[in-house]
């Protein structure tokens, strides 16, 4: 019995905005199954009462003074964009999309 099905992989790919091919689905489903199988060993560890670690070195919130700082020039930022219009990023249409 596999841990993850081809359909689940397709669903996850959709959530992650990846238009994967059928061949990729076949390959990923098998490979992810092997990986997830090895991860099941984590379930055997008793972590009752153990605090999770989210960062290697614990630091609390880091703040700076609320002062103006220069930002990157607009033209420098837009220079790397795939498409621009009127000093802005141009994006494909976002309205009238079928769900």
């Amino acid at each position: 019995m596999s841990t993850i099905s081809r359909e689940e992989v397709a669903h996850l790919a959709r959530l992650a905005r990846l238009e994967v091919t059928d061949d990729e689905l076949d390959a990923f489903a098998g490979q992810l199954d092997v990986i997830l199988e090895s991860m099941k060993t984590l379930g055997e560890v008793d972590t009752e009462g153990v605090e999770p670690t989210s960062h290697a070195v614990p630091l609390v919130n880091v703040f700076r003074e609320d002062q103006h700082q220069p930002s990157l020039p607009r033209e420098d930022v837009l220079a790397g964009a795939p498409d621009t219009a009127e000093d802005r990023f141009r994006v494909p249409r976002i309205l009238d999309e079928e769900a």
Binding site: R17, L42, G43, H55, A56, L72, P92
Partner: protein, 500 residues
């Protein structure tokens, strides 16, 4: 073999020659650029070479020295930078098609510091796409070859930086280490690789893979060269909220201390669990490593066996945490602000263009990890996978802390096997992941780890890893330099000559 060419010297010697007028930065930098021209057609360590920029910096250094200016300890010594670190005005791709042609509008903090240190930047080195891999086979722009045997991998993800240094195309390079990407390439190419304490080197301007683990650090042919580079790039950076505001460990002093060959009073731990289990190291690797441990004992070190029972869970813990963070970090590649956009025909909507862009722009390992991370973070699984992994991470950290109550540093082989052949592990991703079995624990913990060449197995280099406590980078450098002092000829100088 070692010789008298400019490129055969250590970075320390190059810097001294430049400072004292016995050589110019220009001729040393040019010698490396010529070396790149001569051998990189075969090795393919570089994705981009900046001859003009490097020579211009070199000429400025020479002029400054002629004016009598006091410059830093590595001024004029050229360096290569892994292509996951952004460089203003110089292409930066993370070896991904999704960033092909992108020119960053700013410098990473560590690049700013390299420029302040007046080090000519030779170019950008190849890597596994977004630093995900152990062989550079996942670069979108072709693999890098191991200078010791061009049928074998140079390690990864930083195989380009390691191969460039091993083949003497650069005396120094920058790598980044999330699960072993500096140390494992160092081990398999006979070079030195140092992963500093997490948070001691700024991540600002590193293209993010796994933000709680990513650590930039030095690649070199010996401990002292790496230590000097470590000191150039280290230190607090207000632009990185996880940057530690503490004094930089005195790693160059520690490396010089270690080179004296005295380790009396130093207690070194050997992790019992590393030697157990089906995934333990190849016998040739164990033999080379053991010979290194024996030499450390002769220098006065005491060996203590320590138990770190949670280390056996480090690999699955890492492969839940890192892909989870990656799936979130890589959401930024949406075809809007930079990089590739695919399928925008004026008819398709944003989400479809986004999906087509990411499908066209990402390679297989990146997709696999995004899907894995999305799974580990999805409703119904997040507690059992990501949450549980974070708790086990705490247990691994406690194992380290308990070990460092007994010993000053831990030693192990850097990676379980010598450089494998191309294609050997791409079919089964889990077999590739095993390359990082011994390096991953210190990423999860946050402490430093360095890989130093220790010997050969089947004619290929083997690395010994020294792991220290958080902000104990100095002890790792001291032990590594002491081990080097037991080798008459540095292993890096015994690599087969290429480009003949």
């Amino acid at each position: 073999m070692t010789g008298h060419r400019a490129i055969d010297q250590t970075a320390v010697h190059m810097a001294e020659a430049i400072r004292t007028g016995r050589a110019t930065s220009y001729e040393i930098t040019e010698a490396h650029l010529d070396r790149i021209d001569a051998v990189d057609g075969e090795i393919k360590a570089f994705l981009h070479v900046d001859r003009e920029g490097a020579l211009a910096t070199a000429a400025e250094v020479d002029a400054a020295i002629a004016r009598g200016e006091e410059l830093g300890p590595l001024a004029g010594v050229p360096i290569a930078i892994k292509d996951v670190v952004v460089t203003k005005g110089m292409p930066t791709t993370a070896a991904s098609k999704i960033l092909e042609g992108w020119i960053p509008p700013y410098d990473a903090t560590i690049v700013e510091r390299i420029k302040t240190a007046r080090m000519p930047i030779l170019g950008k080195t190849n890597m596994d796409e977004f630093a995900m891999g152990s062989s550079t086979e996942y670069s979108a722009f072709g693999k890098t070859l191991n200078p010791w045997d061009t049928g074998r991998i140079p390690g990864g993800s930083g195989g380009g930086s390691a191969a460039a240094v091993a083949a003497k195309m650069a005396p120094l390079a920058i790598g980044t280490d999330t699960g072993g990407s500096i140390r494992q390439p160092g081990a398999v190419t006979g070079t030195f690789g140092g992963k500093p304490t997490y948070g001691s080197n700024s991540r600002y301007g590193l293209i993010a893979f796994s933000s709680s683990l990513d650590t930039p650090g030095p690649v070199s042919r010996n401990a002292l060269d790496a230590a000097l580079l470590h000191e150039v790039i280290s230190g607090h950076d207000p632009r990185d909220s996880t940057s530690i505001d503490a004094p930089v460990p005195q790693v160059a002093t520690a490396a010089r201390h270690g080179a004296s060959g005295d380790l009396s009073g130093v207690r070194l731990g050997v992790v019992k669990e590393f030697a157990e289990g089906a995934d333990a190291a190849e016998s040739g690797v164990v033999d080379a490593y053991q010979s290194g441990v024996d030499r450390l004992v002769k220098l006065g070190a005491e060996i203590v066996e320590v138990s770190c029972p949670s280390f056996k869970y480090a690999l699955p813990t890492y492969y839940l945490i890192a892909p989870s963070e990656a799936s979130s970090n890589l959401a930024r590649y949406d075809g809007v602000r930079y990089g590739l956009r695919s399928g925008d025909d004026g008819q398709r909507g944003l989400e479809e263009v986004m999906s087509l862009t990411r499908e066209a722009g990402f390679g297989p390992e990146v997709k696999r990890r995004i899907i894995l991370g999305t799974y580990a973070l999805s409703a119904g699984y997040v507690d059992a996978f990501y949450g549980q992994a974070q708790k086990v991470r705490t247990l691994i950290k406690r194992d380290f802390e308990a070990a460092f109550d007994q010993v000053d540093a831990l030693v192990s082989p850097t990676t379980p096997f010598i450089a494998f052949k191309f294609g050997e592990r791409t079919g089964d991703p889990y077999q590739m992941y095993l390359a990082d079995l011994y390096t991953i624990p210190s990423n999860l913990y946050g402490g430093p780890g360095v890989s130093v060449p220790v010997g050969l197995s089947e004619g290929m280099p083997v690395g010994l890893q020294v792991m220290g406590p958080v902000l104990g980078d100095d002890i790792a450098y001291r032990v590594a330099a002491a081990l080097e002092s037991t080798q008459e000829t540095p292993l890096a100088d015994t690599a087969p000559e290429i480009g003949k």
